[in-house]
């Protein structure tokens, strides 16, 4: 069998070829064509319609979360068009699939700006995808509205951060755990920028606040093998787990967590990336009574939310839940509309100048844009997963918290950025 003697070498060749192609695509993010550097984007606002870009993962490991964000962006655009558009022009959404792959995000962002000449782009979920597109938006001086909570320590002049920054989500979550007497934490996260930075902040907080981090583990994004990590958590003697896993690794993690006998009673898990949509697809039986930290839940009271939930379910199905990133995406389009109308122009510089103090009666309550940091004042909310898959609030900050992406207001955070 001459076939057998060659096959190992063949296998190695094959594996290295695949490895090489993966490496190539990983570092093959477009670093920009030399001709375009420094030039402003030429958004096309001449016709009756203006194009807006939607950039989400419609496939891959992040699609579980990002498709819902895409849906609520489309809903906001539809509503705005029905009410007459922005400055008399209808919005035409152009969707691009980032495919859960950061270099793809960068390529598609560039395509939206240069080929489609969009006036603004809405989207991205993971910090890795945001970091990948940031230089593209800065190079073309085009605006990105980012709808997801993130690890802070960033401020781009061409990004509006509509989700929470650390002092509006992670710090209040730690305050909450401390108040409950849960002071020994185990940190579990996906192996990329958000969880690593978030955990750096958590460790600094713990050190200054008499809490103890008894363990820290990262699994590759998309990983489904959590046996060992759960064993380590179980043996660590922790009071609670702080979970920064992203995407459907959470499915495997919570399945393993439950089958190892750990419960929300014996060792609660506080998650910052699991909202109603994820609860539903992971399975309520795995998540009941576990904690989450966000700024919005489907159950958040208020007329604006009742209207939003009804509109979303009318468009996408009675059984579809709404979630924090979806709400942030939804209001990001409205906030941009307010900015454009205040500026009286689609021009990026004028829109930015008009942004400070823009207010909206949002489903999550009142939000205000901070023109300096380009973040939003938001109310922090801790919730508990119910048996119906919905999350009910167990604590909130009472009033919108001023965004502080670099945690300048906390002495323990000095030296983090």
């Amino acid at each position: 069998m001459s076939g057998l003697s060659i096959s190992r070498r063949g296998l190695l060749a094959g594996i290295s070829a695949i490895g090489a192609s993966a490496t190539l695509s990983a570092c093959g993010a477009k670093t920009g064509s030399d001709t375009s550097s420094g030039s402003a984007a030429t958004a096309d606002t001449s016709g009756d319609t203006v194009k807006v870009g939607l950039l989400n993962s419609l496939s891959g490991t992040m699609a579980i979360s990002e498709v819902t964000v895409h849906n609520s962006l489309l809903l906001a655009i539809k509503e705005i068009n029905a009410a007459g558009g922005v400055l008399g022009k209808k919005l035409k959404p152009i969707s691009q699939d980032g495919a859960s792959d950061w270099p793809t995000f960068a390529e598609k962002a560039e395509a939206l700006i240069t080929d489609d000449k969009v006036v603004a782009t809405f989207g991205c979920w993971t910090s890795a995808s945001r970091k990948a597109v940031k230089p593209v938006f800065e190079r073309y001086k085009s605006l990105l509205f980012y709808p997801v909570q993130y690890e802070g320590l960033e401020q781009s002049p061409y990004i509006f951060y509509i989700g929470a920054t650390t002092n509006q989500q992670i710090v209040p979550a730690l305050d909450y755990l401390k108040k409950q007497g849960l002071t020994k934490l185990y940190l579990v996260g996906s192996d990329y920028v958000f969880p690593r930075t978030a955990n750096k902040i958590i460790k600094a907080y713990a050190k200054a606040n008499g809490m103890e981090v008894v363990g820290e583990d990262y699994a590759p994004l998309g990983s489904t093998e959590f046996g060992t990590i759960v064993n380590k958590v179980k043996d660590s003697g922790a009071d609670a787990v702080f979970n920064t896993l992203n995407g459907d690794s959470n499915v495997a993690f919570f399945k393993e967590y439950k089958s190892s006998g750990l419960t929300a009673k014996s060792m609660p898990v506080l998650s910052v990336s699991i909202a109603e949509e994820e609860v539903k697809s992971i399975g309520t039986q795995y998540l009941e009574d576990q904690l989450t930290a966000w700024n919005y839940y489907e159950t958040t009271p208020g007329a604006a939310n009742t209207k939003f939930v009804a509109a979303y379910q009318a468009a996408y199905g009675k059984d579809k839940p709404t979630s924090d990133p979806m709400e942030a995406a939804y209001i990001s389009v409205y906030l941009w509309k307010e900015m454009v109308e205040k500026a009286g122009s689609f021009d990026v510089a004028k829109v930015k100048a008009a942004s400070d103090g823009i207010e909206l009666d949002a489903p999550e309550g009142k939000v205000t844009v901070d023109g300096v940091t380009q973040h939003v004042y938001k109310t922090a909310r801790i919730g508990k997963v119910g048996s119906d898959g919905l999350i009910t609030e167990v604590w909130n900050s009472g009033k919108p918290i001023k965004p502080d992406p670099y945690l300048k207001g906390y002495s323990w955070a000095s030296g983090l950025s």
Binding site: M1, L4, S5, L11, V67, G227, I229, N231, D235, S259
Partner: protein
């Protein structure tokens, strides 16, 4: 002690998953010399079969049991079709099978995306498999993992019996040891190839059913496991069932012990370095096939 028991069990259960996936490869890659990159997609086919069956059969327990034979048939049929359409033309060009089956694997992933949608899906596990069996003193064995372990051992047993005791098994072994001699002895080697491929791919389908108990189901789920499974077959000794069994469990335990004392990524690196070192020392793998063929 608790830690050691829990960790060994975790390692063994990782090994069981690897073994289920590597079993089919031992046949198709090990015995037939075909580098089948689409093996991972047969796993995916098995997982989606489970998903479809659960949609139509409401009871999670019944649908899981029905899924096992159905997934075997679905994935097996896909494998036999692939063999008949493409691979049988390439037995003399083993390196080309790598490229061809990689292309097929990409096409199958796209097909799954078109049929089932891009976002990953989940199945619910039957209630008996969501809990664990406690041995007291904090030692717990997850029921789903025990089920997978049982499934892997049953598959090994079934495959061994087929290879050792049935006429088909004798013919497969004959073709593997010396194809030309088998052919002139009156064995229809082409048919044996197809049946071998059917069984090997079918086992991947069974692995897919098992994986639905562990994590999400998606178009690219097979690619997560394919490289590890190839490593198991190569380290175990090409075409050696015994080698694959030992290697799968050894790698599983090694991985989980290292993960416990370091981190996931460091453990992965150490395992890969250990494999490279091992293959330097024993390039032929743990076990080798003694044949009368001249090659």
């Amino acid at each position: 002690m608790t830690v050691i028991l829990n960790q060994s069990f975790t390692g063994i259960s990782i090994g069981a998953v690897l073994l289920l996936i590597a079993l089919g490869l031992t046949l198709t890659f090990g015995q037939m010399g075909v580098i089948n990159m689409a093996h991972g997609e047969f796993i995916m086919a098995g997982a989606y079969t489970t998903y479809v069956l659960q949609k139509s059969i409401s009871s999670a327990g019944v649908s899981l049991l029905v899924a096992l034979p159905v997934a075997f048939l679905v994935a097996g049929a896909m494998g036999a079709l692939l063999e008949w359409l493409l691979i049988r033309r390439l037995y003399t060009r083993p390196l080309d099978t790598l490229l061809v089956t990689w292309g097929v694997s990409l096409m199958l992933q796209q097909l799954a995306r078109d049929v089932f949608g891009a976002p990953n899906v989940q199945t619910a596990a039957p209630d008996v498999l969501t809990g664990n069996i406690s041995l007291g003193g904090g030692v717990t064995f997850a029921s789903s993992r025990l089920f997978i372990l049982g499934l892997a051992l049953l598959s090994v047993l079934a495959l061994t019996l087929i290879l050792k005791l049935t006429p088909l098994g004798r013919r497969i072994r004959a073709v593997v040891q010396n194809r030309d001699l088998a052919e002139v002895s009156g064995i229809a080697t082409g048919r044996v190839d197809r049946v071998t491929f059917f069984i090997g791919s079918g086992l991947a389908g069974v692995a897919g059913v098992a994986l639905t108990l562990v994590g999400p189901i998606g178009p690219t789920m097979g690619t997560n496991y394919i490289v590890d499974a190839f490593l198991v077959v190569v380290v175990g000794g090409i075409g050696q069932l015994k080698g694959s069994v030992i290697t799968a469990f050894a790698l599983g335990v090694l991985q989980s012990v290292l993960e416990y004392s370091t981190t996931v990524s460091v453990a992965k690196v150490i395992v890969l370095v250990a494999i490279v070192a091992f293959l330097q020392w024993r390039p032929q793998g743990l076990y080798t096939l003694r044949t009368r063929s001249l090659a």
